[in-house]
């Protein structure tokens, strides 16, 4: 049954493997099992994938229930093309380490920037300290 042709509906996506990007930046990959009218998602056999550069690592998470408002986007994963990636999978520890290093580097460059601006008398409020709306 073609649900709601001409519209965007998640019903056709059920039981398929999806990649979900959340508002906090996390990437989840799992089988979409259930939805509701708010686009709350139930992901099955979910894996949180952390990407750093060309590497990625998977953390198995089990079943996720995601509140719809926290989803930025989601897309179906083509199972055949899934393995066709130039990215290299590494272990969880390694990727977490890489992530930490990356965060640190970012943090430091941010600090330098803020320092430089402060010296010039400017201050740009950081995005994460701003109110959301």
């Amino acid at each position: 049954m073609n649900y709601m042709p001409g519209t965007a509906s998640l019903i056709q996506d059920i039981d398929k493997k999806h990649l979900v990007l959340l508002r906090d930046g996390r990437t989840l990959i799992g089988y979409l099992r259930s939805i509701d009218q708010f686009a709350n998602l139930v992901l099955h056999q979910t894996v949180e994938r952390i990407h750093v550069g060309k590497k990625y690592g998977d953390i198995p998470r089990g079943i996720f229930v995601v509140r719809g408002e926290n989803v930025v986007l989601l897309g179906e994963i083509d199972l055949e093309k899934e393995s066709d990636t130039p990215l290299q999978q590494v272990s969880i520890e390694e990727i977490l380490e890489e992530q930490r290093v990356e965060q640190q580097a970012k943090h430091e460059s941010e600090k330098l920037k803020v320092q430089a601006l402060k010296e010039r008398g400017l201050s740009i409020p950081r995005a994460d300290t701003l109110d959301e709306y």
Partner: protein, 812 residues
Amino acid sequence: MGWARPGGLRPERGLGPRRGVGSPVCSFGPRGRRDAHTAGSRPGTEMSLEDCPLDEDEDAFHALGEEDEDIDQFNDDTFGAGAVDDDWQEAHERLAELEDKPATTGEQEDGTVTDEMDLLGDHEENLAERLTKMVIDNELEDPAIMQAVQTRLPVQHPGGLNSSIWDGSAVLRRIRGPLLTQEMPSVSVLDYALPQRPPQARDEERDLSERALPRRSSSPVIGSPPVRAVPIGTPPKQAAMPNFNQQILCPKPVHIRAPMQQRYPAPYGERMSPNQLCSVPNSSLLGHPFPPNVTPVLTHLQRAQLLGGAQAGRMSPSQFARISGLVGSPLPSMNPKLLQGRVGQMVSPASGFRAFFGAPPPPAPPSAQQQQHPPCPGSHLQNLRSQPQMFRPDTTHLHPQHRRLLHQRQQQNRNQHRNLNGSAGDRGSHRNSHQEQMQKDPYANLMLQREKDWVSKIQMMQLQSTDPYLDDYYYQNYFQKLEKISATEEMHGDGPKKERTKLITPQVAKLEHAYKPVQFEGSLGKLTVSSVNNPRKMIDAVVTSRSEDDETKEKQVRDKRRQTLVTIEKTYSLLLDVEDYERRYLLSLEGERPALMEERKQKICDMYDNLRGKMPSQDRPSDDHFVQIMCIRKGKRLVARTLPFLSTEQAADILMATARNLPFLIKKDAQDEVLPCLLRPFSHVLYHLPLGTVTSLLQQLANLPHSATALAPANLHLSAVLQNKFGLSLLYLVLSRGEELQSSDAATELMQDNQWTELMLMATRELLRIPQAALAKPVSTPSNLLALFSRYVDQQKLNLLETKLQLVQGIR
């Protein structure tokens, strides 16, 4: 204040849970073991806060408690047995014991099982290995699990967890023993897993229902569809049971393509839930969608939710299922325990559901395989066996290892029966491949068809509108465009007609609500309730008109501009209405059409008036209003869109005004560059103009006074015109039109028309005078200009003009 009573729906126990606000909840001990109406003396009393004040005395409190006895069913899960946390553990232990009963089965490869388990991973592992890996710590409380892990043997034993209805009556009878010893007197049969209920024999049916496995305690989530709701076999195609309330909340979405359910099971891609599968006629699917596994159909809480949902008028998908998915006639003999079910509304669906199972044996199609004896109407169910078992029981509360074992055993059963079923014929083999695909995703269709329908129903509800062209203009237009394109494509080629299903949104008639605020009799004043339907005025804002005295010039200018903007907006609304009339005309009835036409005419007149500025005086000497409009980008676009609707005279008037003021407009348009949008409507208008008008138009362009023939060395007006893209293009258009008229109407004495000649000469002179670089690039160069010029100028000049204006376009 007491809670609302679901009076009509549950006749047996007519009272809903009520308690005073201040009363401690836990003071009510576990009730519900009694099924008598103890406080039946006052079934109809509505308790309210006034009746039981907070500082109630003991007696009143007890009375309250007493009265609550017969309305306790909601409380079981919170106060009663259901609330006990280790309920499931005990139950689980019992089940595990069953599992450990020795039985022999051909042991299947662990690998095949793990394949299906392993969805995200792509490496095969021995189940045993994985299990051992999973056992991280030995402090797993659950001895059942530990046992299961240690045995590591896939066993299939009669009466175990995975015993299915296909196992034959002997198997199921064995279940009876241990399960019946469970202490669950008060819970109704609805709580228990239907899988234990084979359509074998009626008597067994009743017993089996009691044998069902313990329910899972769940936290109440009011209003959400219960997990593993009773999956009535068919989607809302079948006749519904007559004896219950059917609440249709919204019109169902209409799909052009009817859902294809009356056919054999589809390949994996299509989502045929077990429900759908069950609904297939002639299929031997009329059995039993449930895997032989633990599935409490409904807990108390779930029923409570359902009831609560029904109370609120909301229907969860499971309710939809219940109401709409009932097949056949109700079982003639109803299980008294069923009737005893507290959820009155649930009774009928449940019974209908049973009927569903009761019915199959008679209509069971004679299948090629009658492997098992009639007691087990398993023949058709054998065929069913090859069907993928979509239903996943709710095993989320189980330990993952345990779950794996269960699934594994299920898989074995499936394999077994599949082997038995090998020669089921075409359908069988077809289904085998289907099943294999399904096997790879044993968790498929966790979301029932009901639930999907429910969600899409909600989404469709949001699309309801009284006037889709108003509410959803862009979508409607987009689809119209698409249809037009596909229609033209079809006309051109007779390629495959791509059937594009269109979403038909239900159209709801507009209801006029006159909201009357609630009033109580004998009360002083009204309730101060403001809602979305009845907004309340919060502030009394008084509009004070501005005094005319101390307005500065700037203010005046600003106001004037604002005035113009307002005019533009008003005219735009008129324009949109007028543009819409065609569609409305088509949709309207015969009688209404004259009125529509009148309206349209009127609106067009209004538009014109707006554009030109309504002057009380007779003539309209001032173009001011119009010019002001034309200075604004939106105004220009407005004029362009309005022109097609105006009469020739009116349109000519507009043209004249434009030509008259063209340099000014050009100057103002320098930033926007929107004037060229006027070219097309202008050309349309020109097409209808007689020569006289054209001449005067040209005159306007050249800005010559009527009679004077002053040959100024440089005509600023015209030169400005020529240096502007729009101006030049317009000039070309005018000239071209003139030429057309001349060449077409030989009889008229156009050649002798002095004015025209003069103007022509003037124009050519100007054209020649202006350096080529300054000349604008016209939008299009009409082809007959050369002929036109040749009439008036000598060869030399003609050549010059040719090169300058690039009139000759590629000599053929």
